[in-house]
Amino acid sequence: MRGKGNLRPGFLLVFVREVEQFRKLPVLLALTVLMPLFLMGILAVVFSQGLATRLPIAVLNLDGGDLSRSIIRTIDATPDTAVVINVSDLSEARRLILSGQVHGVLMIRDNLERDVFAGRRPEVVFFYNTQTLTAGNLTLRGVNAALAGVEGGIRLSLRTSHGEPVDIAQAALSPIPVQINPLFNPTMNYSHFLLAALLPAVLQIIVVTSTAYAVGRDVETRHRLRVLRRLGGGLWPAMFGKLLPYTLVFLFVLGISDLLLFLWFQLPLRGDRMLLLSAGLLFVLANQMFGAFLAVAMRPMALAISIGTFATAPAFGFMGIGFPRLGMTPFAYYWGEALPGTWYLTARIDQTLRGTPPDLSGKPLAVLLFMVIIFTALTALCLERNRIKRQQANHALEAVS
């Protein structure tokens, strides 16, 4: 009896068989491990700087005086912008913007210095390209800050030249100063904001499609599903033995990407790491069960993968990182609500950047758990229904013969 113990059907047998698959099918390993790591690597390199600094702008200086040059120097010295070229007219500046070489052009008009000190309030004009929203707004921020600094100096000198003491003049410059405190991401680091959200979004695509692929391979050939069930000695051990190896693989990939974020990009971990880990596990499981459900509910496998791709590939927009869900239309809002990624990113931002207190961190985890249960139930239901159908067909066949 003991020797045969190894062959006793059960969870372990299916598990071992599935691990063997990785060795037999190198494609499977490439799809589930190498590809996500490669794609995540590319994204990490794209955002490796974290901050976009010294964005190129052009200057059209029609004044040429001391003041204009100090404006240009200050703008060049802000971290956001770099003055890369002096143009001689606006049409040249336009050409540079249209060909994408600069993000904006600062125009300093004739007699700026004279008019400023004469109190005529001459304008300084900044044309900037908001088609590329991020770059446009960053350059505006730089120009704004630099110009406010220069202007502050002028206002101070206007007052002190009228005999006002420096300290009083200084206080009078800005009657209502605003102390802005960016909560949670004080350096406005894009790698903590965008990259940290993109990596799980990539993983979501991979998990759903490759699970649909792995399960679909068994579903496509009828007897294999039956073999799987026999090996597992029942529906549940078979299902979990089949999916668990992939869960481990995906958790490994998620772990690598998290290590990259925490160690290399210095993503803060202000919340509870156990909550973060459980959210990660639930996220992977929810997506796996979604993929498995697609595979058992839809045939051929290519259709299941197509639907999975359709649901996950454009999902990043619906998860509300770039454009917050607050401003979305009802359809987009509720579609986002149905994606596991939305809730995982919520939990993730809660536990990394925000350090949300535990009493407020429960909801996304509960929703993810709910999704896991729903998709598991649906998958089991489909499998049972198929089996009953098949049994009925077999009975009918026997009756005929």
């Binding site: 494609v27 590809m35 794609l39 590319i42 994204l43 390199v45 490796s48 976009a52 913007i97 060909s99 994408g100 109190g119 309030r121 304008e123 300084v124 004009v125 900044f126 908001t130 088609q131 590329t132 929203l133 707004n137 704004n144 110009l147 202007e151 206002r155 206007l158 410059l173 800005s174 009657p175 209502i176 100063p177 605003v178 102390q179 405190n181 909560l183 991401n185 406005m188 904001f193 979004a201 990539v202 991979i206 499609t209 290519a302 993968i305 197509s306 791709t309 359709f310 996950t312 590939a313 927009g317 619906f318 454009f323 917050p324 607050l326 401003g327 239309t329 359809f331 949300t356 407020l360």
Partner: protein, 385 residues
């Protein structure tokens, strides 16, 4: 010539009859045009909810809160007695910011001292943060210069000069091309180009991985490799011209996205782009022989492709090696060229480098396909003879 037409017709028929190909190249194109833009339909964020912690409770502090609430960017939806309670709501994501007006806000203003206020804004979502901070700083600046001017006028300075002294050198910032800073106007023109590339890439590589029914007929007619490749490319071209017209002209029009470039210029830039993607798709089909594999590899690629084009994250901040490597993907140059032409109204010379890259890619990929096809053909006929 008749050989080319024959291949083209057969290939078109395959596009329409092979279900996976049809669903990617035609069905998905239509569905995505309705589905993909959904999150961005609202264009801008309005009335971001923030809380007020007014420790002063005077006329001035209430006037500030009222005027802030009146701005389009934020809405003051709650008032809390202290910062801690308000913070709890920010953690619960009910609110995105807290404005604290300290005690003696009004008294300090009347005294002629600086009277600071504090803003705590949620920077874990950048768009929320920038909305809140720009609304509050703009209002503080406006109210500040009103106060300053009043003080100067009270000190017997001429009103005109008083106002000039508060802002001697105003900055006029003129946003070009997407003046309202709309999110859909920003992301869609680039994303649509990427969707065109991805659907075409998957479709063409799927076509290559399925067996060709016309192979026997083509051999009987003795159709050479050049005619085969040109015929196939012609078929893809016919389908994609419709898809491109739909995505680059009709869809932006339907979503109210402005278009400055002429249709002919858009077509000129699209031409090498379609050929480059077609060639790349045929090469991908040779590398990945399994149709399912094609789908899965292409599915994950979309997002990295978009970010590598340097559109949403400025190219200046992407490491130079990756920027150069990204040029082998047609969308990198095509997104920049097509967005600049259609959204900014750039002329051909202004997008010249991108178009040249696309032409080079088209020649290279299609040439490589032709070379491989010719080699396979020679091998077959050599064997056959």
């Amino acid at each position: 010539m008749s050989a080319v037409i024959f291949i083209c017709r057969m290939e078109l028929r395959r596009i329409l009859t092979l279900r996976p190909v049809f669903s990617v190249m035609i069905l998905a194109v239509v569905i995505y045009s309705a589905f993909y833009p959904q999150p961005y339909r609202a264009e801008t964020l309005r009335d971001v909810p923030i809380a007020l912690v007014d420790l002063d409770g005077t006329d001035s502090s209430r006037a500030f809160a009222r005027r802030l609430d009146a701005s389009a960017d934020v809405a003051v939806v709650a008032a809390f007695p202290d910062l801690a309670t308000a913070e709890h709501e920010v953690f619960a994501r009910q609110l995105s910011g807290i404005l604290v007006i300290p005690k003696f806000f009004e008294r300090d203003l009347l005294h002629g001292r600086a009277s600071p206020i504090a803003l705590y804004a949620d920077a874990s979502y950048f768009l929320l943060y920038s909305r809140i901070s720009s609304a509050v700083t703009a209002l503080a600046k406006t109210m500040g210069s009103e106060v300053e001017a009043k003080r100067l006028i009270a000190a017997n300075i001429d009103p005109a000069i008083a106002f000039a002294a508060t802002d001697p050198m105003p900055l006029t910032a003129i946003p070009l091309f997407n003046p309202q800073g709309g999110y859909a106007t920003y992301i869609l023109p680039a994303a649509l180009v990427l969707l065109l590339q991805q659907t075409m890439l998957i479709g063409v590589s799927l076509l290559g991985t399925y067996p060709k029914e016309w192979e026997a007929e083509a051999q009987k007619r003795k159709i050479g490799p050049i005619d085969r490749v040109v015929g196939c490319l012609l078929a893809y071209f016919v389908v994609e011209v419709c898809a491109f017209a739909f995505y680059l002209i009709a869809v932006p029009y339907l979503y109210g996205i402005p278009r400055l470039g002429s249709i002919w210029l858009i077509a000129t830039v699209s031409f090498p782009f379609i050929l480059a993607v077609g060639g790349l798709g045929m090469l991908m089909a040779r590398m990945l022989s399994n149709p399912v594999l094609v789908q899965m590899v292409a599915a994950g690629m979309g997002m990295p492709f978009l970010f590598m084009s340097g559109f949403s994250w400025p190219a200046d901040a992407i490491p130079a090696t990756l920027r150069t490597a990204a040029l082998v993907i047609p969308s990198t140059s095509a997104i920049n060229a097509l967005v600049n032409v259609s959204q900014l109204g750039a002329s051909l010379p202004e997008v010249g480098p991108h178009v040249l890259t696309l032409i080079f890619l088209a020649v290279f990929y299609c040439g490589l396909v032709l070379f491989l096809e010719a080699r396979a053909f020679r091998y077959e006929t050599g064997n056959g003879g």
